[in-house]
C-alpha cells in the first residue's frame, strides 16, 4: 500500500471531518438537552444543502457565506418542530418520540423529493477544484475552508453554551429539567432554542457539504445514520465526544475507502459502531451508558 495515498486519504478525511463533527454536535446537543432522538437530522441537513444550492443558483451566494442563512432557516425549522411536535410528547414513551421523528423525517425527505426531484445536485463554486500542494500530498481548498468554518462554529457553540446565560440554562435543563424549572428557567423556551441550535448546526453542515459532495433527497437518511454512529462512538451526550468522533469516523471512512473499496466505506463506520456497542457502549468519551 502506497503511504502517500494513505496520507492523502487521512488528510482528506480529517478535513472532511469538520462537517461530520458539526452534524454530530447538533444531534448530541438535541439529545443531551431533551433526550430526544432526532431521526430527521440527516433530512434537515439535506434541506440545508438545498437552501445553499438555491441561494447559489438564484443569487450567486457562495455556500461559504450562505451557510449562515441556512443555519438560520434550519434554526426556525427546529424551533417549529420542537414547539409544535416534540414538545407534546416529551413525557411519552421513548419509542413514541422516535416514531414521531420518523414521521418528520419521512415528510422532510419526500417533500424535498417532490419539490426538487430525485436528481443529485451540487453547489458549484469558482474554486471548487482548487488545491494546494503540501509536499507529496495536496490540500483540497474547499475542504480546508469547510474544516476551518466548522471548527469556528463549534467554538462559537462552545462559547454560547458555557459563557452565555441562555447557554448555561440549557446545560442546566439538560442536567435536571425540574431543577432548572425551580430556579426560574423557561424550560419550554430553552428546549426550543436547544432544538433550533442543533438543527442550525446540521443546516450549516449541509450548506458546507453541498459544495463538496453531490446530494439528493435520498442522502438524508444515511446522514442521519452516520450522525448517530458518530455520536454513539464519541459518547452519547458528550459534545466533545461528538466533535472528535466526527473527525475519527471521517478519517476511518476515507482510509477504508482506500484500503477496502470506495463503495464499502460506510461499512467502516458500522463496524466501528458495532465494536463500540459491544465493548464500550458509553462511547469513547462518554461518562455513562444510555
Amino acid at each position: 500500500m502506497n503511504p502517500t495515498l494513505l496520507a492523502q486519504a487521512a488528510l482528506n478525511g480529517l478535513l472532511f471531518g469538520g462537517i461530520y463533527s458539526l452534524m454530530a454536535v447538533g444531534l448530541s446537543l438535541i439529545f443531551g438537552v431533551m433526550r430526544v432522538i432526532n431521526i430527521a437530522h440527516g433530512d434537515m441537513m439535506v434541506w440545508g444543502s438545498y437552501l445553499a444550492f438555491l441561494l447559489a443558483a438564484r443569487f450567486g451566494l457562495d455556500p461559504f457565506v450562505s451557510f449562515v442563512l441556512c443555519a438560520g432557516a434550519l434554526f426556525a425549522l427546529g424551533v417549529l418542530v420542537q414547539r409544535g411536535l416534540v414538545g407534546r410528547v416529551l413525557d411519552a414513551p421513548h419509542e413514541m418520540q422516535i416514531l414521531l421523528m420518523l414521521g418528520v423525517a419521512l415528510v422532510l425527505e419526500n417533500l424535498a423529493l417532490v419539490v426538487f426531484g430525485p436528481e443529485t445536485r451540487r453547489t458549484e463554486t469558482a474554486y471548487g477544484l482548487a488545491t494546494v500542494w503540501l509536499g507529496p500530498v495536496f490540500v483540497d481548498l474547499p475542504r480546508l475552508v469547510t474544516f476551518v468554518l466548522a471548527l469556528g462554529l463549534a467554538l462559537a457553540l462552545y462559547l454560547f453554551l458555557f459563557r452565555s446565560e441562555l447557554g448555561m440554562l440549557m446545560r442546566a435543563a439538560a442536567d435536571n429539567a425540574y431543577g432548572a424549572l425551580v430556579v426560574g428557567a423557561d424550560v419550554g423556551r430553552v428546549y426550543a432554542v436547544a432544538f433550533g441550535t442543533g438543527a442550525a448546526c446540521v443546516g450549516a453542515a449541509g450548506a458546507l457539504l453541498s459544495a463538496l459532495l453531490p446530494f439528493s433527497p435520498a442522502s438524508g437518511f444515511p446522514q442521519t445514520v452516520t450522525s448517530f454512529n458518530i455520536v454513539i462512538i464519541g459518547g452519547m451526550g458528550s459534545l466533545l465526544g461528538a466533535f472528535l468522533g466526527g473527525i475519527l469516523v471521517a478519517v476511518a471512512e476515507n482510509l477504508g475507502a482506500v484500503l477496502i473499496a470506495p463503495s464499502l466505506k460506510e461499512l467502516v463506520s458500522f463496524v466501528l459502531l458495532v465494536l463500540i456497542l459491544l465493548f464500550r457502549p458509553q462511547g469513547l468519551f462518554g461518562g455513562r451508558a444510555g
Binding site: 422516535i98 419521512l106 463503495s263 464499502l264
Partner: protein, 318 residues
C-alpha cells in the same frame, strides 16, 4: 367479535371468485404486509423492542431461497424454511448483541439499522448474489417453483401467511411467553425483579419474529420476480413493515391486520395516481404525516378505538 372475524375469513376465502385480478393484487399486498407487520408485532408490539431493520430478515430469506433455487434447483417451498432459519440465526445474533449488553430503546433501534445496512452493503458487493443490480427471477409458472400464472394462487398463499401468523401470535399472546413479553415492555426492571429472564424472553421473540419475516422473504422474491439489495434490505421496506402495526395498534392481535387494511390500499392508490403523475414521494409525505398524527392523537393505534366502539354498540343493542 369472534363471529365477525370468522365471517371476515369466510368472505376473504370466497372473494377471489368474485373480483378481478387487479383487486386481488391489492388484497395480496394487504395480506403480505399484514403478515410482515404481525411478525414485527411479536417483537415490537408485544415486547416493546422496536426494530427498524426488519427488512434485513426479508432480504436474507428472499436471497437464500432464490440462491438455492437458482444454484441447486431447490424448490423455494423448501428454501423458504432454509431462508427462515437463516433469518432466525441473524435475529439471534442481533438479539444476542443487543440484549446481552442491555441495549435498550434507541441503542437497539440503531443496532438493527446498522445490521440491516451491513447486510445490504455486503450483498451489494457479492457477485454471486447479483451485486448491486440484484437478481431477476425468470417466470416459469411452475407451482413447485413458487410461481403461479393465476393471481388467485398468490392470493391464497398470502392469506394463508397472514392467518397463520395471526393464529400463532394469538397462541403466544395468551402463553407464558406473551405474558413475559408484555411485562418486559411495561417495565423491564420490575419484570426481572419478579423472576422473568428478560434476555431469554427477548431473544426468543426476536428469533421467532425473524424466522416469520424470513419466510415472507420467499413470497416477496417470487411475487415481485426481482431482488435488489437496496429494496430488499433497505430502510423504506423496514418503515413499511413497522407502520402497519403501529397505525393499527401495536401489541394487539388484530392491529397489524387492521393497519394493513388501512394503509396498503392507500399506498396502492397513491402509487397509481400520484407517482404516475410525476408526484413520486407524495405518498411517503402522507405516510409521514399519518405517523405524526397517530403518535399525537392515537398513540395506541386504531384497533383499541375500534374495539371500544364495537363494545359500546353491543351494549346499546343488548
Amino acid at each position: 367479535m369472534k363471529w365477525a372475524v370468522a365471517l371476515a375469513v369466510v368472505v376473504l376465502l370466497v372473494l377471489p371468485q368474485l373480483v378481478g385480478s387487479y383487486l386481488l393484487t391489492v388484497f395480496i399486498f394487504i395480506f403480505f404486509y399484514a403478515y410482515l407487520g404481525q411478525a414485527w408485532n411479536l417483537l415490537g408490539g408485544y415486547g416493546g423492542q422496536i426494530s427498524l431493520g426488519h427488512a434485513a430478515f426479508v432480504g436474507i430469506g428472499a436471497y437464500t431461497s432464490t440462491y438455492l433455487a437458482m444454484t441447486y434447483q431447490l424448490s423455494p417451498w423448501i428454501g423458504m424454511f432454509v431462508g427462515g432459519v437463516a433469518a432466525a440465526l441473524l435475529g439471534a445474533v442481533v438479539g444476542y448483541l443487543g440484549f446481552r449488553f442491555g441495549l435498550r430503546g434507541f441503542y437497539f433501534i440503531l443496532l438493527t439499522v446498522a445490521v440491516a445496512e451491513i447486510c445490504r452493503l455486503l450483498v451489494a458487493h457479492t457477485e454471486a448474489l447479483g451485486g448491486a443490480l440484484g437478481i431477476f427471477i425468470t417466470f416459469t409458472g411452475d407451482p413447485w417453483q413458487f410461481q403461479f400464472s393465476d393471481n388467485r394462487a398468490y392470493y391464497y398463499v398470502a392469506l394463508g401467511l397472514m392467518l397463520g401468523a395471526t393464529g400463532l401470535v394469538a397462541a403466544i399472546e395468551t402463553s407464558r411467553l406473551g405474558a413475559y413479553l408484555a411485562a418486559i415492555r411495561e417495565d423491564e426492571d420490575a419484570a426481572e425483579a419478579l423472576g422473568v429472564n428478560a434476555f431469554r424472553t427477548k431473544l426468543a421473540a426476536i428469533v421467532l419474529s425473524a424466522f416469520l419475516t424470513g419466510l415472507g422473504g420467499t413470497f416477496y422474491a417470487n411475487y415481485l420476480f426481482s431482488l435488489q439489495p437496496n429494496t430488499a434490505f433497505g430502510i423504506p421496506l423496514s418503515v413499511e413493515i413497522i407502520l402497519r402495526p403501529i397505525v393499527g395498534g401495536g401489541g394487539t392481535l388484530l392491529g397489524p391486520v387492521l393497519g394493513s387494511f388501512i394503509l396498503s390500499p392507500l399506498a396502492e392508490l397513491s402509487r397509481i395516481y400520484l407517482a404516475r403523475g410525476g408526484w413520486s414521494g407524495t405518498h411517503l409525505v402522507a405516510y409521514g404525516l399519518l405517523l405524526i398524527a397517530v403518535v399525537l392523537f392515537l398513540p395506541r393505534g386504531a384497533y383499541p378505538h375500534l374495539a371500544a366502539a364495537l363494545a359500546r354498540r353491543r351494549r346499546r343493542t343488548s
